[in-house]
């Protein structure tokens, strides 16, 4: 029999395995609870005034405007690569007329929201985690708390709202530049008629496709800042803690973007 008061190191090996499993399970459940509670508190603060509008504008600039160049650049090259591969593939079966709809639908439904979210995670999300992490380890978050100010209201709510505003707009810009990137390759370089490219796109892609992309980008717009601010807010000690939190934020955000993309794809029409 195991003595209940003895330390776990003295327990038999099977009992230690059970104890370790229990400890990991408790840690996971506790972390999930904290993660959910963090979002719950943020949502509640959105509806409890005052909303920090100047901070929100600053975050829209930080997440949205500062990501514009990378989104335009990656959108254009994604569309160009897509246009090239789809053209070469469809040419084999004589269906190159469908390059337009293939590029358009792929970008608007899948690649636009997913790649935009991934790039913005790498650019703005990681910076958000590092910024909050440094604020945590230099006691700036504690300073806000002892000033009787809620740091969630100052640091988290504006970031999540800015994500919800910025991600759909950035996704729309990614889609448009991607479609014109595909146009550049398929029409200008490979000789497809412009009327065919846009005409077939108009015939096969409709508002439903646009809305699927919109809902996905809206979801990712909340998800990425949620994960990144949570990780920054709860980072460990010192430079290593900030570095680990930033890596975890980017990895977790990217994994969740892909997981949610699949499930949203099955739910949305």
């Amino acid at each position: 029999m195991t003595d209940g008061s003895a330390s776990p190191e003295t327990w038999p090996r099977p009992a230690r395995w059970v104890e370790a499993l229990g400890r990991v399970t408790l840690y996971l459940v506790e972390s999930l609870g904290r993660f959910g509670g963090f979002l719950g508190e943020t949502v509640a603060l959105v509806f409890i005034p005052p909303l920090k509008l100047s901070r929100l504008a600053g975050r829209v600039y930080f997440i949205g405007f500062k990501s514009l160049t990378i989104v335009i650049l990656t959108g254009a090259f994604t569309g160009m690569a897509l246009g090239l591969q789809v053209f070469l593939t469809l040419q084999r079966v004589g269906s190159e007329a469908f390059v337009g709809p293939a590029v358009g639908i792929a970008l608007v439904r899948e690649l636009g929201p997913v790649l935009t979210a991934v790039f913005v995670t790498g650019l703005a999300g990681s910076a958000l985690t590092a910024e909050l992490g440094i604020m945590r380890i230099t006691e700036q978050i504690d300073a806000l708390m002892v000033m009787a100010l809620n740091p969630m209201r100052y640091l988290v709510v504006p970031a999540i709202l800015a994500g919800i505003i910025s991600f759909p707009l950035l996704t729309a810009i990614f889609d448009v530049t991607g479609i014109y990137g595909g146009y550049l390759v398929a029409v200008i370089l490979l000789g497809l008629s412009p009327g065919t490219y846009f005409g077939q796109m108009h015939a096969f892609a409709d508002m439903t496709d646009v809305m699927v992309g919109f809902w996905k980008s809206l979801c990712f717009g909340a998800l990425v800042p949620w994960v990144c601010t949570y990780k920054g807010f709860h980072c460990g000690h010192g430079a290593e803690g900030v570095s680990r939190a930033t890596t975890e934020a980017v990895v977790l955000s990217c994994v969740l973007i892909l997981v949610f993309n699949y499930f949203l794809g099955t739910v949305l029409p």
Partner: protein
């Protein structure tokens, strides 16, 4: 008045506070001394409501703040000013904006009044015409003074100082201590300071408490602490390597 009663806190299996009892009278300067890693900052975080104890209470004018949350805790914190060890200045703001921040967020003062009070506080800590600078552009001593100005700008009843002179040269240590002493004489706030600047703190302390191995082992005025018969206190204030308290 602040009363700490039987405060206990462990991190994992590591006990840090093991039944701290401490009374701080209104208007006095109480300085908590003790070895590095002895739990002084953890004690301070309990007084600020940033940590919750495993057991015990922190009473501020009779209200146990360890039981408070949300608006009730914020109401107590409105009476606080805090100078953090590293200053905890917001690095995205200028010196002026750092000092103005609590006024902008917690009061209904107009921009002109805020500017006047900020300039006044910066002048009191000897930082005239430094408001436009970024915290990264000023020295460590200046950052401490900005932190003191920010802590005092709302004219709090209770001010906490977490090692406000750590890492400064002896002249700056005395400058900061004299500044705190002058400001205390002027504004009569209750001050709780965590420090191990021996013997400089004896000049400004009304009372000193020694925290050792998670408990307060001696409390008294500067003279009684200096003349204490407790070998651990004597070893600490004389910085002796050999003694009752073994060096880590």
């Amino acid at each position: 008045m602040i009363q700490v009663q039987g405060l206990r806190k462990s991190f994992g299996r590591q006990p840090v506070l093991q039944g701290v009892n401490l009374d701080v009278a209104t208007g006095e300067v109480m300085i908590v001394i003790g070895r590095s890693g002895g739990g002084k900052s953890v004690l301070l975080k309990h007084l600020l409501g940033l940590l919750r104890p495993d057991a015990g209470a922190v009473l501020v004018d009779g209200t146990d703040i360890t039981k408070l949350r949300g608006a009730a805790l914020e109401a107590v914190r409105r009476r606080y000013g805090v100078v953090f060890q590293g200053g905890a200045l917001f690095d995205s703001m200028s010196v002026f904006d750092n000092v103005a921040f609590p006024l902008r967020e917690k009061t209904t003062l107009g921009a002109g009044d805020i500017a006047q009070r900020v300039e006044e506080k910066l002048a009191q800590v000897g930082l005239v015409d430094m408001g436009h600078k970024n915290p990264a552009e000023i020295s460590g001593g200046m950052r401490k003074r900005v932190a003191i100005a920010r802590a005092l700008v709302t004219e709090p009843e209770i001010v906490f100082f977490d090692e406000p002179t750590t890492g400064l040269d002896p002249i700056l240590v005395n400058t900061i201590h004299r500044l705190i002493q002058d400001l205390h004489r002027k504004f009569r706030f209750t001050a709780v300071m965590v420090s191990h600047e021996i013997p400089e703190i004896f000049e400004i302390a009304d009372r000193v408490a020694m925290l050792h191995e998670g408990a307060i082992i001696e409390t008294g005025d500067a003279r009684s602490i200096q003349n204490s018969a407790n070998p651990i206190v004597q070893q600490f204030i004389h910085g002796a390597v050999e003694g009752a308290n073994h060096a880590a």
